[in-house]
């Protein structure tokens, strides 16, 4: 079997890599949308924010490969993390495939399979568990070249939003594996 990807690049894929479990798991995660209804019109790719700056990123091909269970190359390359989750592809899709939901499902699957996400996302997960926010409050430079933090701007002190141990345990259970 031969599948076209990334413009003119031709990649031969072995049929024995086919894994119907992938489509099952993705279908479960993207409910009520329906990746199995994709007929490869590529309207999603014509709308895609990421495609405009990273031409190798093509949502309709990601959906096709996912339907075939051929996601190993896709996950190895890490290109799924290029998706900006702007939801344009879903709006353009005439079949309610919701390619963005497929990509989010693939991201989730890749984490569950032990692939590493981009470093900044790992930090965000750690910060959310430990601080309650994706980053600690920073000092910013003003136009007068002075540094301002919340205190200097007379904004209320930022407290940790979680006080209950149950919240922290829940978040550790859900996100701990990402950064530990």
């Amino acid at each position: 079997m031969v599948v076209l990807t990334g413009g003119s690049e031709v990649v031969a894929l072995e049929v024995r890599l086919l894994d119907s479990r992938v489509l099952r798991e993705v279908k479960e995660l993207v409910r009520p949308h329906s990746p199995q209804h994709c007929y490869q019109c590529a309207k999603c790719t014509s709308a895609c924010t990421a495609t405009k700056v990273i031409p190798d990123y093509k949502p309709h091909l990601i959906v096709a490969l996912t339907r075939l269970g051929l996601i190993k190359n896709l996950l190895d390359s890490g290109i799924i993390w290029a998706c900006t989750e702007c939801w344009k592809c879903s709006e353009y899709c005439p079949q309610d495939v919701a390619p963005v939901e497929v990509v989010i499902a693939l991201k989730n699957l890749s984490i569950a399979m032990g692939y590493k996400p981009p470093e900044d996302l790992k930090m965000m997960a750690k910060n959310v568990v430990e601080l309650g926010y994706i980053s600690p409050p920073i000092e910013v430079l003003s136009k007068e070249f002075e540094m301002y933090g919340r205190n200097a701007l007379a904004l209320p002190e930022l407290v940790k939003p979680y006080t209950h141990e149950g919240t922290i345990n829940n978040l550790k259970k859900l996100l701990g594996g990402v950064y530990e």
Binding site: V53, I54, W81, T84, I138, K143, V159, P161
Partner: protein, 296 residues
Amino acid sequence: MSKFLLFLGCTIPTKQYSYEISVRNVLPKLGVELVDFAEAGCCGFPLKGLNRRAWVYMSARILSIASKKGLPILALCNGCDTSLRKIKDILKHDEALRKEIADLLSNEGIKLDVSAEVYHTLEILHDFVGVEKIKSMVRRSLKGIRIASYPGCHMIRPSDIPHPEDPAEPRKYDAVLNALGAEVGYYPDRGGCCGATMLPYSARHALLIAASKIKTFKEYGFDAVSTSCPYCMEMIDGKQDAARTEVGDESISIPVFYLTQLVGLAIGLEPKELGLNLNISPVEEVLEKLGVSLYE
């Protein structure tokens, strides 16, 4: 009803301070009472790729706490706003997930209840305060200034859930700008993405997206841009210099304002009451036209 839980999200209370400052100073002057919501934290939207359940749990937790307080939520960030609305929809249609999230919340003594109402800053200005009232309060008209409204992609997408703007005819933003006396206008891909969510994958490519947005604003003859999303602000204002350097195009330079900063200016507040000294883009260009100095 004019009392709202002030839900700041992550980006606003940790670095996009000018949005928080302008909201805290402007909205009460328009008759909106803000109640701090310190126990909210992150809505989980940026983490859905890592674990979708974590996202649903985090937003459901925030909605449940608000429901118990019996107050509507004012979400300043487009991401937070869409996240809370989307979670309501997801949980409505997925009983198994609802049960799972209810169990997680019970570990911390919270009862799952996502009924709390959610509003975005734009709705507060347009639907609750209203353009007529805003118009009547204008002391410093933005007449003669042509502003591109850039609401941000999650103001209208995904369109299968209710949004602050009508996804088919998003006109509220321009209506508020018009009420301030400003001119508005068309430019292509108004609902386009700013690229902020691509930063963790590739900062360089994210900057290319931002640069192309800014170039469009310039090509269509705008004097300034306004957004009501902290991520758009981070890209179009905060990373404007980096975007210009990345593509080597000196024309990439335009003042960028939060909507609440423009409302504040028009009703007569001073630049520092609106955090305008924290905007990175050349906002002085517009302030000069209004006869306002940033440094007094």
